[in-house]
Subunit: 248 residues, 2 copies
DNA sequence: GTCTATAACGAGATAGAC
DNA sequence: GTCTATCTCGTTATAGAC
């Protein structure tokens, strides 16, 4: 009985994964707006109504893809922040680990930025799904806000820790921004100094501006040495959130 | 005879404009991926084959919409840089004109950023068309690169002029970025110092990162006081391209 | 209970004959 | 330009296999 349920659940998980994989293929080929349950079913050799056992509607399938994408980029960011390898040139502590020293806030910041960029370049269509134009007629449910926040949380944690361990070199918070900064800090990261909340959100948006321009082709015929350019830009970005120092 | 041709040409211009207007409506309703010549024709009371006398293909209609959008945001940026009103809170020289003084580089920079943001918020679907996810199956022809460059050219001109009139306070150009910066400066703005080219392109991308996050909904439940936050962020951004000073 | 298949609905796109 | 026959789509109801 429990073995049967185990087998059923395993089968269910496998079919669910197959549906999402096929849907991701269509995402790449036709775009999110044209994602079609029938086409997915056809390609899988199923009948369209069978898909409704796994996803109650087309929008629910889209939501699952969006959550998966946010989770994938969030996990890449978390691994990079923790100093795990895999991102290649981006991981922090490549030199510091040898000497036993902890990676600095700046190094971790750049590592996370590079990890997010690497993921985006490797999965441009999933990146477009979450950071590109909204899908017409689709409105994201509450389920997406947690996964969507993961990358931002990683950046917050880096700056928070660096503030404790190394101190931050911040611009003074302008008066006109004080109420917003205090609300933001309280809302999103209790314990974060209001003076760092506003620059941090700005740097977060600006980081994805750099990545979006590269992934969406705005850098064609403009920027050629993209990785070195990106590393330089996000290092300067780190300075605006108070993370000082020059890269090694 | 020439009067007849004049009337014909006037009619052609009017119909072309009507087609593009209807196409823009569909852009808003269904997204660029589902833009269909047939639906546009139906809505205009024409037959689909008649549209082909105005646009040889769906992609040509898309290209026209893209060029129009780049031109519209480019013109908004150029007007703001020239100190023309219309953007509301953003125009430079509001105080300086009264005293007869020229707007500073920083003031003009912020004015351009605000004008681009205002345009984007007023035309979110056209903004998505040019700065959002690429349209699947569509590849932009050469005709779009000129209009696409207009906003960037405005930013370059502001920094160039400020460099002549006020001087710039720049970070030193790192060696690893020197070849790219020199190529970029030579390619895109002869006469621009290589040390400013790289930060300028980065600031350009980051500016659109701020706007995209706002237009695409990433700031929902995160940033509430969006205009004051935006003005602050782009002012700080101006500092990274050597435009110094605090806003008035 | 869990799944798949058949059939159907209303709406819309599409291709081709006329 | 028009009309029609044939596709697609999301979604539901229903019946039967395991």
């Amino acid at each position: 009985m429990s073995a049967v349920r185990g087998a059923r659940e395993r089968a269910r998980i496998e079919v669910t994964a197959a549906i999402k994989d096929e849907a991701r293929k269509q995402l790449a080929a036709e775009g999110a707006a044209k994602l079609s349950l029938r086409a997915v079913a056809r390609e899988l050799g199923m009948v369209s109504s069978a898909l409704y056992r796994y996803f109650p509607s087309r929008d629910d399938l889209l939501t699952a893809l969006i959550v998966d994408a946010y989770d994938a980029v969030g996990e890449a960011a978390e691994r990079a922040a923790a100093g795990e390898p895999g991102a290649g040139a981006g991981e922090p502590g490549a030199g510091a680990r040898a000497t036993g020293a902890r990676a600095t806030g700046l190094t971790r910041w750049v590592a996370v930025a590079c990890a997010v960029r690497d993921w985006a370049l490797a999965h441009p269509h999933e990146y477009a799904l979450i950071y590109g134009s909204p899908v017409p007629g689709y409105s994201a449910p509450q389920d997406t806000v947690g996964p969507a926040a993961r990358v931002g949380m990683v950046l917050i944690a880096i700056v928070e820790e660096a503030g404790r361990d190394e101190g931050l070199a911040l611009m003074p918070l302008p008066d006109e921004l004080r109420p917003e900064a205090e609300r933001l800090a309280a809302d999103v990261a209790p314990g974060l100094a209001p003076a760092v909340a506003a620059p941090l959100v700005a740097a977060w948006a600006q980081l994805f501006g750099l990545i979006s321009f590269e992934v969406f082709g705005q850098f064609n015929r403009v920027v050629e040495a993209r990785e070195v350019f990106f590393r330089r830009a996000v290092t300067e970005l780190a300075r605006t959130v108070g993370l000082l120092g020059r890269p090694g």
